[in-house]
Symmetry: C2
Subunit: 317 residues, 2 copies
Amino acid sequence: MKIVALAGGIGGARFLRGLRAAAPEAEITVIGNTGDDISLFGLRVCPDLDTVMYTLGGGIDEEQGWGRAAETFTVKEELAAYGVGPGWFGLGDRDFATHIVRTQMLAAGYPLSAVTEALCDRWKPGVRLLPMTDDQVETHVVIEDDQGRRAVHFQEWWVRLRASVPALSIAAVGAEESKPAPGVVEAVDAADVVLFPPSNPVVSIGTILAVPGIRDAVAKKTIVGVSPIIGDAPVRGMADACLTAIGVETSARAVAELYGLGLLDGWLVDDADADVRVEGIEVRARPLLMSDPDATAAIARAALDLALELKREEDAQ
Amino acid sequence: MKIVALAGGIGGARFLRGLRAAAPEAEITVIGNTGDDISLFGLRVCPDLDTVMYTLGGGIDEEQGWGRAAETFTVKEELAAYGVGPGWFGLGDRDFATHIVRTQMLAAGYPLSAVTEALCDRWKPGVRLLPMTDDQVETHVVIEDDQGRRAVHFQEWWVRLRASVPALSIAAVGAEESKPAPGVVEAVDAADVVLFPPSNPVVSIGTILAVPGIRDAVAKKTIVGVSPIIGDAPVRGMADACLTAIGVETSARAVAELYGLGLLDGWLVDDADADVRVEGIEVRARPLLMSDPDATAAIARAALDLALELKREEDAQ
């Protein structure tokens, strides 16, 4: 069985770990969001790809959900001693090595997809991890504060400001001119089903779908998504701030409608949202809190089962 | 009083610390060797400049003579886990931060001299530290081993091979086309005296003098050097391997002759070499082992006193 999953950071990575446990024989290709990639200290940092790689590779800081376990921060402290920032982005010593390797390979001319493959040679995540694109796409957020109205990098809004300033708009700069990374469209074409983990529907899944060619490719497939919203709040993170920015209500129903007909075939919502109905989409309710690996695997299994069921129905028609 | 000193790494740095202690009121400009600079992991490493900066700034590993005190090696271990080398060059986590800042500034278009000044803003070495040039000059060594005859970077010969393979020749690649960094010639012109610390006469002092314009500028000044050779062995390091490569005997006399007439006015040798005579050069003998900071300050004071004495004589003529 071949599965393609789109994924952002922490929530996506945890779901994928559950999926790998739930379907150990499946060939899983992950299309990772690179819109929140950022250059810091001259090094290229890919937070979502790394979170997936570290989580599935056993190197993640479990408590925090991102960054390396047993991390130290000597390099960052030394950079601060030189007066070099930003200090608000948490880069540990172990993590720095990843960015040093990546930056060196990019400078040598390797595309990000080849770099990601090389990094995964070490981590052996048990999935094929592809960046959505080898081109540079950066999510920018327009905010307005005492410095006036301006666009900042997504990470500045998300990490430095903790999304405390409302986003007036969110744009994936460069997405329109970008191409899917090698293997992305081929993996989708070959997939039995496509899954949307409970990642951020705007700045993770939405950004991946903004790469021309990816939306069209996945639209041909049976797609099941897992709602990142339970009741009126994100399962984790600050997805509500992103939904508000694009004028979408923070609810399981509204996110399903955002993904839209022609894309989603099935939608897994939490029991709290059991009354949600979306025309043309099969909605199923179950507990969606990824409270531990077993619970997460059960959610992934339910998503996969629903996708396979819907695919059989489609194939039968 | 204005003093200019040329300097390589450990020996030069220790001498300079002694000089600063011996002449606390003097304005000292250090022209540092950059011929052993190397790019590692995509980062620009300047071993000699950093050794001077760390030593005079109080950050050096005193035992080792290079690298940072209280150093850790997490980044390097992680790079090795990615299969990324070289492992033979000892870069610690604290040290990495220096190279990250330097590389980022160089990439932003700042010349090495401006970068060095920015790094020294933190370390406050109490001297003005200038790279010999902002241009890239790399010392290469021709060796012959079971892989055949080939040129390797100086650091590969010096650090990886520990100079165990004879150097057939040594070349400062790029030196001929290089220009002195801003301020170098001006500092020499304004100097009362010029000192050559007991640095490597071939790959440190020799490389600095190979930058067109520097030799001519210093030649106009009263110059006193401190012999890096005691008896038939280097005070520290493997200068003998470099001298042999260029066909020069390992002796205090041969090094003085290498620097040559028209350059050296005075030459400080160890008591063990009290019988050394070099025509046209005032040779003085005294203990030259830089065994502790006080002994080193006394050596620096003796070099400075000899230089001032010879300058007075010249001025009187």
